[in-house]
């Protein structure tokens, strides 16, 4: 009976903690762990910890990779990466060379990516443990996020691999506003100034601003 049931639930070396299951204590292992229930205490894994949406982990976590779609309270030390998906909520500190916090995720705590100065440039093809395309779509905040991850170069480098088609579309409007003000300024100024003043559009602008303030 047991053998008939088990293959459908977990084929190979993946451990699943079901929704109604509550573990308190220490958990060590060398395989992936999916938490759909609750785990409290300590988790040490040589592989990936996946906290599903229904999962709650209140523990000191030490893993290779972590993917959080549920709730984590506690510190995470990851030797490779930590990803908080759109559904993920976390309170605690993260120590990991790669940290991905997706739009919609909620996180409170410190982020430590290690020695940032000596960090090698990342390739766009960097192996993500599991790309979660579902969590990506709501990424308009992506440009703002590097501030959170403390490494501006990281996000753009990773993102194109995951969603190449959408990214350029987002960035285009972002850059546009930066350039737009410069052409528009002279445009608004020129009607007021004689053509000879075109060489000094900036001065003309300044005076206008002062007038506005008064």
């Amino acid at each position: 009976m047991a053998t008939a049931r088990t293959p459908t639930t977990s084929s190979d070396g993946a451990t699943i903690i079901g929704e109604s299951v509550h573990i308190r204590g220490q958990l060590n292992g060398g395989e992936d762990l999916h938490v759909l229930g609750r785990v409290e205490g300590r988790v040490d894994l040589e592989r990936t910890l996946v906290v599903a949406q229904s999962g709650i982990v209140k523990a000191e976590v030490s893993v290779k990779n972590a993917v959080i779609s549920g709730v984590v309270v506690g510190n995470i030390h990851a030797s490779e990466s930590v990803e908080i998906t759109r559904e993920g909520r976390m309170v605690g500190d993260i120590f990991s060379p790669r940290i991905i916090i997706v739009d919609g995720a909620s996180f409170r705590g410190n982020v430590d990516m290690g020695d940032i100065a000596n960090m090698p440039a990342r390739k766009p093809s960097a192996e993500r443990p599991r790309p979660t395309p579902v969590a990506r779509p709501a990424a308009p905040v992506a440009p703002a996020r590097p501030a959170v991850t403390a490494k501006p170069g990281a996000k753009p480098a990773l993102a194109p691999a995951a969603k190449a088609p959408e990214k350029p579309a987002e960035r285009a409007p972002e850059k546009a506003p930066e350039k737009a003000p410069e052409p528009t300024r002279p445009a608004t100024v020129t009607p007021l100034e004689p053509p000879a003043a075109k060489g000094l559009p900036q001065k003309a602008q300044k005076t206008r601003v002062i007038v506005k303030r008064k």
């Binding site: 699943i16 903690i17 079901g18 929704e19 509550h22 573990i23 308190r24 292992g29 205490g41």
Partner: protein, 104 residues
Amino acid sequence: MANTVIGNTIVIDGEISGDEDLTIRGTVKGKIALSASLIVENSGTVEADIETKNVEVSGNVTGNITSTERVELKSDGRMVGDIKAPRILIADGAVFKGNVDMER
């Protein structure tokens, strides 16, 4: 259905409780309390006091089992500890040392 599985390489030291079936292929020490079935597979090792509805042992169990329905020691199961359950099955080949109590 998301059955709970403790994989081969997993070691849990502590307490497990829940309302669903639990399959153990790794190691669990401490305490297990379930309102469903516990299955200890060949590769599984349990050093814990167990309180469940059903227990099926094909691996190693050290500790006392209290079951509300049934405890089955399969032919490759090894168990040291006391069993308290209304129905207890011990298959040919199973290794068992302990006390049996079938009182209801």
